[in-house]
Amino acid sequence: MLTIQSVQDWMVKANEYMQENKAYLTELDQAIGDSDHGINMSRGFQEVVKKLEQSSYDDVSAMLKDVAMTLMSKVGGASGPLYGTAFLKLSMAVKGKETVDKDDIAAGLDAAAQGVQQRGKSTTGEKTMVDVWAPIVTWWKEQDEIDAADLEKKAKEAMESTKPMKATKGRASYLKEKSVGHIDPGAASSYYIFKSLAEILA
C-alpha cells in the first residue's frame, strides 16, 4: 500500500496541511507552549517536499529515511527529533521490502510510536503526540483492511482526546491544570500526518 509515489503524495499532502494550518498549530502552541509548533512543522515539511522533489529513490525505506533526516534537521524543538525518530523507525521497519502492505505499515507505525516514546520518555495520557500515534497503532493492528475514512476519524478522535488531558510531558507540563482544555499541538500535527496518509490510501 505504500509506494514511492504514494509516500511522495503523502508528504505533499501533509505539507499542504502544515502550511494551511501553520497559524492554527502555532495558536495551539501559544495556549500551552511557546508559539512555534506551526512554524516548526511548516518549515520542516516544506523542506521534506523539496528534498523528495530533488531526489530519486529505489525504495520506500530510503525515501522515508530522507523524510526522517530532513525533519530531524529542519524542525527543531521537541517535535523535530520526535518526528525524525518516528520516520526513521518507520523507514527501518520497511527496509528491504519490495512492497509495503498493511501489516508492514502496522509494524512500522508500531516501531515509530515506540521510538517516540523512548526518545521522549513518554507514554499515553501525557497530552503529547503519543496520544495520537499509540491508539492509531492499536487500531491499525485490529483492522483487516484500512478504511481511509475510519483512519481519519480515529486520528481526529485521538487528537481530540488530548483536550481534557493534563500535560506531564513537554512544555505544556509547566502549566499543570492550566493545560487542560486545549488540544495538544503535536497531537494536532500528528492528526494531519494521519489524515494525509488516509487520503493517499483512499
Binding site: 502555532t26 508559539s35 512555534d36 512554524i39 527543531g76 521522549g120 510531558k169 512544555r171 509547566y174
Partner: protein, 330 residues
C-alpha cells in the same frame, strides 16, 4: 506586531549575519551552519558548547569567547537547534579532549543535544552533557519534566568556561558545571508578553494592571497571575521564594543576577536590585557579586528574573577568572 525585521521567516539568517559581522575579530560562523565559534580556540582545552532557540540574545552567542563557551548553536526563535547543527559545533570545538554540552532543561533542547551527542560519540568524540534547571517556578517532581533552565545558565557557562580554560579534564569541567547547577536558583516575572516574529501575535494577554509570576524565557504565560505590585513587593516575593527553595541561611554567600527579559529599562532592574540587596542583608546572606543587565532575554518581553548562586571559595575563584565573551567581559 511592530518589529524591525525583513521577512519574519528569515530573522535568524539575518540576525546571524549581523551578529557575526559585529564580532568578526572574535568569532567565526562555521560554514553552512548557524554555529558561532571562537576564532582561536585555547590549545588542547576541553570544548564547551551551548545553544538553544533564538530570542534570548545575548544568549547564547554572546557567551562565546575565551573563558566561557567555545561555540554556541543558534536555533530558530524559541526552537531548539537541530542535532546536525549541534554535531557540527561539537566537531568544530573538539580537540581530542572531549566536549561538554550545556543544555537548558526543555524537552526540545534535551532531545536535540542528546541526539547530537550520540552522533558525536559514534564518530569517537567524547561528549558529556549537563542540564541546567534553575527555575524554581516549575516544580521538580517525578510527574513533571522538571525545572526549566533560565538565566542561571550564565553562571554555568562562566564556571565551566573558567575551569576548562584552566586545563581541567572533561570530567572536572562537568563536575564544576554540575556544582553550579546544584547551587543556582532563579525565578522570573513579566509585565508584558512577547511576539514570535513568524507567529505575529503576542503569546498571551495581560491587562494593564496584571503581571505574571513564574514565567519562563519563551514568552509562555507564568505559573501565577496577579495584580501588579510595587518593585519592592515583587522583588521580595521572588527573592524569598528563591531563598526558601535554595535553603539559603544566615552566613551563606551568593552571587546575584538581576536579568532583564528584554524591554525592561535598566532603571527598573537597578530598583529591583536595591530590594534584593535589602532582603539578603536582612537575612544575613552576604553578596559576593552582582550582575544587573540583559543576560537571557525573551524577545521584547517586559519583566525580569532574579538568580541566586550559593558560592564557596572554589566558585568565587571561577567567577573571578577573566572572560572575553562579548556579553560577559570579566
Amino acid at each position: 506586531m511592530k518589529k524591525i525585521i525583513n521577512n519574519p521567516s528569515n530573522v535568524i539568517q539575518d540576525m546571524v549575519k549581523g551578529m557575526t559581522l559585529a564580532n568578526e575579530e572574535q568569532w567565526l560562523q562555521v560554514e553552512g551552519t548557524n554555529v558561532i565559534r571562537r576564532k582561536e580556540l585555547s590549545q588542547g582545552k576541553v570544548g564547551l558548547v551551548s545553544g538553544g532557540g533564538s530570542g534570548h540574545e545575548p544568549a547564547h552567542a554572546g557567551y562565546v569567547g575565551k573563558g566561557m563557551l567555545d561555540a554556541a548553536v543558534v536555533g530558530e526563535v524559541f526552537t531548539s537547534p537541530t542535532p546536525d547543527q549541534i554535531f557540527e559545533a561539537i566537531k568544530a570545538v573538539d580537540q581530542g579532549n572531549g566536549v561538554l554540552l550545556i543544555v537548558k532543561n526543555y524537552t526540545g533542547d534535551v532531545l536535540n543535544f542528546e541526539m547530537a551527542g550520540e552522533l558525536a560519540e559514534a564518530e569517537g568524540i567524547r561528549v558529556e552533557q549537563v542540564i541546567v534547571n534553575d527555575d524554581i517556578a516549575v516544580k521538580d517532581s517525578d510527574f513533571t519534566i522538571g525545572r526549566r533552565g533560565i538565566a542561571g545558565t550564565i553562571f554555568v557557562h562562566k564556571a565551566a568556561g573558567a575551569k576548562a580554560e584552566q586545563g581541567a579534564s572533561l570530567d572536572e569541567v562537568k563536575a564544576a558545571a554540575e556544582k553550579i547547577i546544584e547551587q543556582v536558583r532563579s525565578m522570573g516575572m513579566a509585565l508584558t508578553p512577547c511576539t514570535v516574529p513568524d507567529a505575529g501575535k503576542p503569546s498571551f494577554h495581560l491587562d494593564e494592571d496584571e503581571m505574571e509570576l513564574g514565567i519562563g524565557i519563551h514568552g509562555e504565560a507564568g505559573t501565577e497571575r496577579k495584580k501588579i505590585a510595587s518593585a519592592k513587593e515583587i522583588a521580595d516575593e521572588l527573592t524569598s521564594n528563591i531563598i526558601e527553595d535554595a535553603g539559603l541561611t544566615a552566613g551563606d554567600e551568593v552571587a546575584v543576577i538581576i536579568n532583564g527579559m528584554g524591554s525592561t529599562p535598566e532603571m527598573e532592574l537597578f530598583i529591583v536590585n536595591g530590594h534584593v540587596n535589602d532582603m539578603l542583608k536582612e537575612k544575613q546572606i552576604s553578596i559576593h557579586r552582582t550582575y544587573v543587565g540583559e543576560y537571557m532575554t525573551s524577545l521584547e518581553m517586559a519583566g525580569f528574573s532574579i538568580t541566586l548562586l550559593k558560592v564557596d571559595e572554589e566558585i568565587k575563584e571561577l567567577l573571578a577568572e577573566p572572560s572575553e565573551a562579548v556579553a560577559f567581559k570579566a
